[in-house]
């Protein structure tokens, strides 16, 4: 058998040929399998893979829009975009990072904080992306580096736009500031429109007008390689820059109002009655908004937050104070409009008022009493008993309805973020908020602007402007016009006016006359601000912080400074052609006539006579002591 096999060499060769043929067939089949796979990839699913391939290399890069600028009424910049310069290191081009940083620090101050940030960012960025080693280079530092830059390949100065508030603390409470977008905000914004944007308006106008200021994102296609390096840019959709805002605000007036307020805590709001435009809005003390843009340090923030004077608190729109006697002309108007009172009808003041069947004495500020007073005198002398009686006759519901017409109890709707609405008390409110019934005595207290009644300086100024307009309430607004770009025409914003129901000019004249006599009358509570250049109509107020007991007398000297009454003043001028309506509140300022009225006068002087206020803290102290 062995021999048989050996003998058949031809058979052996034939066997091999068969086997080789089998292998050849297997090879062809295998290659056909590969071929089918290739057909599947390259023909059947070609489009799918083309898409994936494009997704790989074409990245859509958002281009953030430039934020709109904010100007005052004369075109003075209040919010600007300034290039800020950072020194960056491109790790790919630097052999020895540590040595380079050491050499750089010989040239420019590099703090431990800078090094820490660099170490943190280094692993997060790509090798060819600049990592900042220093932020906010000064011009001198930039120059110093520029001269030596040849020694530092891979180290560059990078510029980007960052928000800046050239007027600093003077406009902080009005303009507000932008800051880095936080997670909460991220959920509220249109993320695609903010792709590439890092900042968003946090407070003030910057927040309220975010939509206008931000603009719309643009895109460009970038061809990138596997490591993310951009090789080519194409097909741009340019971003639409944010709109510039022009405010009613006058920076000079704003500065003067702040100077007049000095270092006292308080607020000044000045409104142009015809338009409702806010000419000045000061809350004191203020703060520098600029550190918030780049991210204020925890310590600095804590210092501001914990400051007993609360500089971050915008008293002009969030400060809710009992309006005190500054409400009396509005109560009087309510009495006239509702027909409960007439201008001539006298009411008796014996120093106090008692509700029928009650023993509690509601006292007048003048313990001796005013005798019988008509409406005008009651306003001029700010007689409390007259208004107790009037409020009692009118009843809380009617009073509330008429006061609401002047904008009390609700935010005015001015175009600034964070405004509060004050509180216009009513039986319905008391039931809801405190689950208590309304007592008749509370109606009397509302009548003199005390108790639960709260109003913001902005509300008081807007309501006063409505009196100046003799019955037309203009919703206060800050932005007068917007503009798409520098060369584009200005787009004025729309005024929102509301005609008050009381159309009898005699009613308005009564009130204006009374307010005029507050300043000009012999017994007026603000007679110290009378002047020969123009005529002012106004009303002083003093609102209680500290409640005086039934049988005590109020002794200013004994009460701690922060428990003293708030001083208020509202007024407008000139009487016949009102150009400005002002509300002033000085926290713990004592009497309105002594403290608040002169500030209002200074603001009016500035606006009407173009008379600057010299800032002086001594002046402030002097006024307080009077």
């Amino acid at each position: 058998m062995l021999a048989e096999v050996f003998a058949d060499r031809r058979g052996e060769k034939r066997l091999f040929r068969t086997r080789a043929l089998v292998l050849a067939v297997l090879v062809v089949l295998s290659l056909a399998l590969i071929g089918m796979r290739l057909f599947q990839l390259q023909v059947v699913r070609h489009e799918h893979f083309t898409t994936l391939s494009d997704d790989n290399r074409i990245k859509i890069q958002p281009m953030p829009p430039t934020r709109g600028l904010i100007y005052d009424r004369d075109g003075v910049l209040l919010a600007d975009n300034l290039p800020s310069y950072a020194l960056t290191i491109e790790p790919e081009k630097v052999d020895d990072l540590a040595a380079t940083i050491a050499e750089l620090s010989a040239l420019l101050p590099i703090s431990e904080l800078d090094r820490e940030r660099f170490r943190r960012l280094l692993p997060q960025r790509r090798r060819f992306e600049g990592v900042p080693i220093r932020l906010d280079l000064s011009q001198a530092e930039r120059a110093r580096f520029a001269v030596q830059s040849h020694r530092f390949p891979g180290v560059e100065i990078a510029a980007e736009l960052s928000r800046s508030y050239p007027q600093g603390m003077h406009t902080a409470h009005v303009v507000g500031y932008v800051g880095r977008i936080n997670e909460q905000e991220l959920e509220q914004i249109d993320r695609s429109d903010y792709a590439g944007s890092t900042h968003i308006g946090k407070v003030g106008i910057e927040k309220y007008h975010e939509a206008w200021l931000h603009g719309h994102v643009g895109y460009q296609q970038a061809v990138v390689n596997a490591r993310g390096r951009v090789l080519e840019r194409r097909e741009e959709k340019t971003p639409l820059p944010g709109r510039d805002l022009h405010l009613f605000l006058d920076l000079d007036l704003q500065r003067d109002a702040a100077a007049a307020l000095g270092d006292r805590r308080g607020a000044v709001v000045a409104i142009e009655p015809e338009t409702g435009g806010v000419l000045a809005m000061v809350s004191s003390p203020s703060y520098d908004p600029n550190p918030f843009v780049g991210g204020i340090g925890f310590k600095a923030y804590a210092a501001l937050r914990d400051d007993i004077d609360r500089p971050l608190y915008n008293r002009a729109i969030r400060g809710q104070y009992p309006p005190g006697s500054t409400i009396k002309q509005f109560i009087a108007l309510a009495g006239l409009a509702s027909g409960v009172a007439t201008a001539r009808e006298g009411k008796y003041c014996g120093g106090y008022f008692q509700l029928p069947g009650h023993s509690h004495r509601y006292r007048c500020w003048r313990s001796g009493g005013h005798g019988t007073l008509a409406m005008e005198d009651a306003i001029v002398q700010s007689c409390d008993v007259y208004f107790y009686r009037l409020a009692h006759d009118m009843g809380i519901e009617r009073m509330k309805t008429h006061l609401a017409e002047f904008g009390f109890g609700e935010p005015t709707g001015a175009d600034i973020a964070g405004e509060l609405g004050g509180l216009l008390p009513s039986p319905e409110w008391k039931r809801r908020a405190r689950n208590q019934p309304w007592f008749p005595g509370e109606t009397l207290i509302v009548g003199i602007g005390q108790g639960a009644f709260l109003a913001t300086p902005l509300q008081l100024a807007a309501a006063t402007a409505a009196v100046a307009n003799r019955g037309t309430y203009m919703q206060p607004r800050l932005v007068s016009a917007t503009r798409a770009s520098l060369g584009a025409p200005l787009d004025p914003t729309e005024a929102k006016r509301r005609l008050l129901p009381d159309k009898d000019p005699a009613h308005w004249q009564t009130i204006v006359d009374a307010m005029t006599n507050v300043v000009e009358g012999r017994r007026g509570t603000a007679r110290r601000i009378r002047n020969d250049d123009y005529r002012i109509a106004g009303k002083t107020g003093t609102s209680q912080v500290f409640t005086v007991g039934q049988n005590e007398t109020y002794n200013e000297a004994e009460v701690a400074e922060r428990m003293r009454d708030h001083a208020l003043f509202v007024g407008f001028a000139p009487i016949d052609n009102p150009q400005i309506a002002v509300a002033v509140i000085v926290e713990n300022g004592g009497h309105g006539g002594a403290t608040a009225a002169p500030i209002a006068r200074a603001v009016m002087d500035s606006w009407l006579l173009d008379q600057r206020v010299v800032p002086s803290t001594e002046n402030a102290a002097e006024t307080t002591s009077q």
Binding site: F16, L21, F39, Q42, F49, T50, S53, N56, R57
Partner: protein
């Protein structure tokens, strides 16, 4: 009969009696190899990011490899047959040496540093094992008996296991396929073949248990590349994107975005086939496959015409090793097979496999050009 044969041979070799004949070169095979290598350089230039330096270096390697091919072509099969056993033993002992004192690189122990050259002994086995089996089987009766099969099994298993242990799955597959092919060509009975296949399938769990973690992960990733798109699956996904986006006619030479923008990893070495697929499309790929097929068919035809069993078996198995090379590589790059480090023969950047392959072709040429001499004996 004999003169008739001679005439046919004269026809098929064309330049018979000329330089080619004197150098023992086979013209069809030589032309095919030159075409493939030429195409390879063109693709390499693009895949290397237009690096003339890499192309130059590859050109130098090709020159060396062709010289070695010509050199081995001068050695008659009879001499090769005599070298078979010593070469196999040397290769096996070198594999052992690698395991004991080889150099580590990328988690595998494959290299042996001989002072002058650093090389992978496993490469030797790609030729030494077919030679050894051809030598052994050519002395045994046909078809092989069970005892012979057992011996052959041991001869295959020894180097394959040593290589797999390094671990170098790609080379182990190639060496094993060389051995199995030789056995198959030796006339192993079909029922035994079927039996061995069943046995092999049954052994799969055993193989799985012997595999290293990274090897298992590769297999798993191959089965579901999306499970690890940025890790091990990245290669497979990106190469399929490259090939698929190439379409029928490709994105044009140097125009492949996947390859030029470096999304495709290992683009000038193991994954160079994807560059070809992306830039020259299905047409370019099919052209290369046809060239490869022609080489294989020529190799099988040389084997089929060889006069003695040793030459037949050796030629056949060398040819099939070449096929396994390209099949495993193409299968891997197109996502049909798991990722194992096997280069695309004659095209991928690198010299090791090139030298082995060209030596193989030298053997084929030696066998082909001495056919008539042996026959006339």
């Amino acid at each position: 009969m004999a003169p008739h044969k001679l005439r046919i041979d004269r026809d098929s070799s064309g330049l018979d009696g000329g330089l080619l004949a004197r150098l023992h070169l086979d013209l069809p095979l030589l032309l095919l190899l030159l075409l493939i290598c030429g195409l390879g350089l063109v693709v390499l230039y693009s895949a290397s990011g237009q690096s003339a330096e890499q192309v130059d270096r590859q050109l130098l390697r090709l020159g060396v490899a062709f010289l070695l091919m010509i050199a081995i072509a001068q050695v008659p099969p009879v001499v090769l047959s005599r070298w078979s056993l010593p070469l196999f033993l040397i290769g096996l002992s070198l594999l052992l040496a690698v395991l004991l004192m080889g150099e580590q690189s990328k988690g595998a122990q494959r290299w042996l540093d001989l002072g002058v050259v650093r090389f992978q002994p496993s490469e030797i086995l790609k030729l030494a094992l077919p030679m050894m089996l051809a030598w052994y089987l050519s002395m045994r009766p046909t078809p092989p008996r069970l005892l012979d099969i057992a011996v052959v099994g041991l001869l295959i298993a020894a180097p394959v296991l040593l290589i797999a242990k390094q671990p170098d799955l790609g080379t182990a597959v190639l060496v094993a396929s060389a051995g199995v092919t030789t056995l198959f060509l030796s006339g192993l009975r079909w029922r035994l073949i079927i039996g061995l296949c069943v046995l092999g399938a049954a052994a799969t769990p055993l193989v799985w248990s012997l595999m290293r973690d990274y090897q298992r992960r590769r297999v798993l990733t191959f089965l579901d590349p999306g499970s690890d798109p940025l890790g091990a699956g990245y290669h497979i996904i990106q190469s399929q994107i490259a090939i698929g986006s190439g379409g029928l006619h490709g994105k044009g030479w140097l125009g492949g975005t996947q390859s030029q923008l470096e999304f495709l990893p290992e683009r000038s070495t193991d994954f160079i086939f994807a560059v070809l697929g992306e830039e020259l499309g299905l047409s370019g790929v099919v052209l290369l496959m046809l060239l490869y097929l022609a080489v294989i068919l020529r190799g099988l035809s040389i084997a089929a015409q060889a006069p003695d069993a040793y030459s037949r078996l050796l030629a056949g198995s060398v040819t099939i090793v070449f096929f396994v090379y390209l099949f495993v590589n193409m299968g891997m790059v197109t996502g049909l097979l798991p990722v194992v480090g096997v280069p695309l023969p004659l095209i991928s950047y690198g010299g090791t496999s090139l030298v082995t392959l060209m030596l193989g072709f030298g053997i084929l040429m030696s066998i082909q050009t001495r056919r008539k001499l042996l026959q006339s004996e």
